[in-house]
Amino acid sequence: MDKRSVYLDHQTTTPVLEEAFQAMVPYFREAYGSPSSLHRFGLQVREGLKEARQKIAQMINAESEEDLIFTSGGTESANLAIKGFADANVRTKGNHIVVSAIEHPAVMNSVEYLSKHGFEVTQVPVDIIGRINPEDVGAAITPKTALVAVHLVNHDIGTIQPVKEIAKITAEKGVALYADAQAAAGWMPIDVRDLGVQLLSFSPHRFYGPKGIGVLYRSRKARVTSHIHGGVQEGGRRAGTENVPAIIGAGVAAEFAVREMDQRVAHVAMLQKRLYDGLWKHVQYIKLNGPVPGPLRICNTLNLSTEFIEGEGQLLLLDYQGIAVASGSSCVSKSLKVSHVLSAIQLDHALAQGNIIMSLGKDNTVEDVDYVVETFAKIVVKLRNMSPMWKEFEEGVIDSVIAPTGRGKSFTQHAADISGKPAH
């Protein structure tokens, strides 16, 4: 009998909605023109693009579809927001940028680039559930601050950020606010005007749209210097022949995201709760990273750490049982470094190593969740039996971080003792 296949990695990417895919199909081989062309093959495409633009503008309640710049993805959008805004405003506003400590690498590395090119950067820390304190942002702003960059939701641990409160502060101080909404878009309503952000980005591949397309909203007041030079596409703000089918698919995905928002959120939040309850009932020594399911957590993500075992092993055994998840453990990253998000919430190194990220989608079912709980419980037993740490914990050599017994040293101390170097 075939194993169940359960995709629990929707915070990485999602399948394309059937309706979005069907809408894209004619644009590959029939309506294949470039929208810059004056003939009918070009004109035919313009109409579809305009509609898609309108649907996406509606999804975030932008003043006008002209406030959107299409890019190739969430990363390019973040780069354009940060470097484009910094470039355009460094002279009039200053060379200081405020950013939270747990932004996605697209933001972090854009900011780092600027820091190598004459910008000063202040990183605002987060609390242990990964929340930014708006007052910290306020305190970080200086007269030279050009931009504050905070995400709406963290991609790893699912924390919803107080962007609206931060926007009040930035508005008061006359500083522009950019919100990376990639982990939020499609999974909670977004209203750029209500939020009070000047820049906001996301990519439809996170809510059943295609890959290869990103969106940057920028209010008319926020000037952005273009970073990809060439033709006058996107009103001269982003050159290059448009990825027409992807824009069309993005429009349909946005339309459905709006229409089905309540229903998707309700369903996925229900599954999230069931998954959380099930896991914590059946598996000992696991810790939730980020807020408990509820108003501070995005509805589709759980980030947990399983003590005494490592993340990649869990991921692989789950995968073997047909369950696709992610992990922020160092073994999973190409750089062998634990996710900087987990470091920023000061997660114990042992727990960071045992990290697993499960992100639900609209097509997951109650049966999926029950299967995951059951499978995960078995896998944890199997890996703990293999782990020297588990026995050493039982023997009192090392202690649990999650439920300390008062016996034994910490994992980190133990690891340092045997490797001769402090673990990082």
């Binding site: 092993g313 692989l316 073994c331 062998l336 293999m386 020297p388 490797s419």
Partner: protein, 137 residues
């Protein structure tokens, strides 16, 4: 494109040793035990040995680490059983890599960890057997 379920991160041999590890556990009343940690990624590996007549009669492992760390320790214990201490001291991680049919570059250090755990176990054994240690010195 094959079916989704046919894809695996590591090759078949590595996957087999990860899913069905050989020699998992602790040797009862071990003659030598080595536990080492990888500073690079935080993995921990423990190898315990039963040694009889200068030969490794049994070897078992426990590993806190990724798939290739588990597979490396499984393979290392398989390879080392039956070898003399002299042979075991020349054991190199490359043997593990080769026997596994290769590891991704970023995972080679897992096989190094297996070599280190084995050598730590032998050292532990020798430290407990001062005469033998001197004789082989």
């Amino acid at each position: 494109m094959k079916e989704t379920k046919e894809y695996t991160l590591y090759n078949d041999t590595v996957m087999d040793h990860f899913l069905n590890p050989r020699n998992m556990g602790d040797v009862e009343q071990a003659d030598g035990v080595g536990e080492v940690g990888a500073a690079a990624c935080g993995d921990i590996m423990k190898i315990s040995l039963k040694i009889r007549d200068g030969k490794i009669e049994d070897a078992r492992f426990k590993t806190f680490g990724c798939g290739s760390a588990i597979a490396s320790s499984s393979m290392a214990t398989e390879l080392i059983k039956g070898r003399t201490l002299e042979e075991a001291k020349n054991f190199s991680n490359q043997e593990v890599v080769d026997a596994l049919g290769g590891l991704p570059p970023v995972k080679i250090h897992c096989s190094v960890l297996a070599e280190e755990a084995l050598k730590a176990a032998i050292e532990d054994y020798e430290a407990k057997q001062p005469k033998v240690a001197l004789a082989t010195a």
